[in-house]
């Protein structure tokens, strides 16, 4: 009974996407979820957000793909994935057993390709699609759509046209105005906005006097970027009405709470999964403990308390 009540207190409804807890996993940091079953019960997650999926299989980038940086890491995986057909045939049936909502992160080279992908994924077992217009590690598509409001809107419209699922659009932080992009994708019909993807960064191998990563630049994630992520969440929450999924450097419940207070309705754990593979579930204990201490019944009552006026618009 206590369990049931706690769960209830953490429940969140993101534009029809009902989650038992407000914590999902950041795409690309949790594989397909199956990699973590030794550490946590997938069905205790709000949702599993899987690795970026493309129409055809991709081999990703050559050379070194990751490196640690101060309180963060760079990656240039480059959307390596087995393709959507493999995902539908091999992975999705396995995930189905865990009774957890599955969010599929998608990336394409044109708005039409995003639409086609969304269409193929409009099947039972997929709860939502997350449009990745913010991957800094691929040449075609990726971040090109994420920095241009018109292009971003075109992708969102294509996806909306091809799916009955909840559509989440994931924004890139590598822009002058994140709110401009947020408003564009909201106007184009996205149901939910997630933010942030990685900041573009690089590291030089000073002994070899060349960029360390195979792809030269990579995406910066982890606690280092959290101040930027919280700020963008706070800005976007004041401008749009759609629910937000906040992420960027969440390593514990206190970090997650910053996002809720800044206006996120749910959060995603990314790089933190590598350090503590139980985090995406265990973080809920800390959130509940905080709610008890602050006499808050529902986690949704925390959303936006730090915004001007104390709530989301």
């Amino acid at each position: 009974m206590v369990k049931a009540r706690s769960t209830h207190r953490l429940a969140v409804n993101l534009a029809g996407l009902k989650l038992k807890t407000p914590v999902t996993t950041a795409s690309g940091t949790f594989g397909f979820g199956l990699e973590f079953t030794d550490f946590l019960d997938l069905h205790k997650l709000g949702a599993v957000t899987v690795k970026g999926t493309t129409l055809l299989p991709r081999a990703g980038n050559k050379g070194q793909r990751a490196v640690e940086t101060p309180s963060g890491m760079l990656n240039c995986v480059g959307l390596e994935n087995p393709g959507v057909e493999y995902f539908l045939q091999e992975t999705l049936p396995k995930l189905a057993k865990y009774k957890v909502p599955v969010i599929v992160n998608i990336a394409g080279a044109s708005p039409e390709e995003y639409g086609e992908l969304a269409g193929k994924l409009d099947v039972p077992g997929v709860a939502a699609v997350e449009i990745n217009i913010s991957c800094p590690n691929v040449k075609e598509g990726g971040i090109a759509f994420g920095t241009n409001p018109r292009a971003a809107a075109a992708v969102v419209r294509q996806v909306k046209d091809h799916t009955s699922k909840v559509v989440i659009t994931k924004l890139s932080p590598n822009v002058t105005s994140i709110t401009e992009l947020a408003l564009a994708v909201e106007a184009a019909g996205t149901d939910v906005i997630s933010l942030i993807n990685t900041l573009i960064g690089m590291k030089i191998d000073i002994e070899h006097q060349r960029p360390l990563l195979g792809n030269i630049t990579g995406g910066l994630s982890g606690p280092a970027v959290r101040p930027v992520a919280v700020r963008m969440c706070y800005e976007v929450a004041q401008q749009v009405k759609v629910p937000l999924i906040g992420m960027g450097g969440i390593m514990n419940a206190a970090d997650a709470l910053e996002f809720f207070l800044a206006g996120a309705n749910a959060v995603a754990v990314g790089t933190g999964n590598f350090v503590d593979p139980t985090l995406a579930v265990s973080i809920c204990d800390g959130i509940l403990e905080y709610m008890d201490r602050h006499k808050v019944q529902q986690v949704q009552d925390l959303v936006g308390l730090a915004l001007p006026g104390g709530k989301r618009r």
């Binding site: 990699e35 990751a66 990656n75 590598f274 139980t278």
Partner: protein, 254 residues
């Protein structure tokens, strides 16, 4: 194989040479199940820098005591912190990770360079009955402090150093072709990439099966992040979960 997230207790730390240490950890879940070639992912700091766990091969296991030993070179931030750990300290360890070596060889030859000799040491213990031979390469004599360590399991040792200060001058390739004519039925290799490539080629030429243990930068160690992915024959390989041990002919991109 089940992976565990454990709090390991440090029970000892020893210098092996000027820049290499052995740390012994009580971590029964992992000691019970780890096989040679597997590794663990160690968190050295509770702060955000250094942030990521560090992969280290399992170098020895004592099932009765529930301990494992890691042997590591002090290189950068994380290994320097690890080197300061004292008996009684606790570390968060994830493991055992990856797949181990195929152990069916009747007459095994272990070939190691540098810290590649750490995971091979556990292999030597597991193959002790087969009396494995070991071929070790180092830059200078001091790199081959492994001689004594391996003595119990591998009385048959072949040594090379780049500067000739111990054993034959040159790399392991100075001795390998001849050794490969002596009837070894499997080569187990761990060391720098150029060494592994050369050894694999020589083994292929001599038709001796060859297993290699690859090293790639790893962020998760769990098959989730694809940091460690490398090109296999006809498919992508995740070094952390499909490996780190592969048959040499499976690897297309070293």
């Amino acid at each position: 194989m089940t992976k565990f997230l454990c709090t390991a207790k440090v029970v000892g730390q020893y210098m092996l040479n000027a820049t290499t240490k052995q740390i012994d950890l009580i971590v029964p879940e992992i000691a019970r199940t780890a096989v040679p070639g597997q590794f663990v992912n160690v968190q050295v700091s509770r702060h955000t820098a250094p942030l990521l766990r560090r992969p280290l091969g399992v170098a020895a296991v004592n099932r009765e005591d529930g301990t494992i030993s890691l042997m590591y070179r002090i290189l950068g931030e994380a290994t320097r912190i690890l080197a300061d750990a004292c008996s009684g300290d606790t570390l968060s360890v994830v493991g055992p990770l990856g797949h181990g070596f195929d152990l069916t060889a009747k007459k095994p030859l272990l070939i190691g360079g540098g810290l590649g000799l750490a995971p091979l040491y556990y292999l030597a213990a597991a193959l002790a009955k087969q009396k494995p031979a070991v071929l070790m390469g180092g830059r200078i004599a001091d790199d081959l402090f492994w001689q004594d360590i391996y003595q119990d399991y591998c009385p048959e040792q072949y040594l090379t150093t780049d500067d000739g200060s111990l054993g034959t001058q040159g790399t392991v390739m100075a001795l390998l072709p001849e050794l490969l004519t002596k009837g070894y039925d499997c080569a187990y290799v761990c060391g720098p990439v150029p060494m592994m490539k050369a050894v694999a080629a020589a083994c292929a030429a001599a038709k001796v099966p060859c297993q290699v243990s690859l090293e790639r930068y790893m962020a998760c160690g769990l098959g989730a992040c694809l940091s460690c992915s490398c090109g296999g024959v006809g498919k992508r390989l995740k070094v952390c979960t499909d490996g780190p041990v592969f048959w040499a002919q499976e690897v297309a991109e070293w």
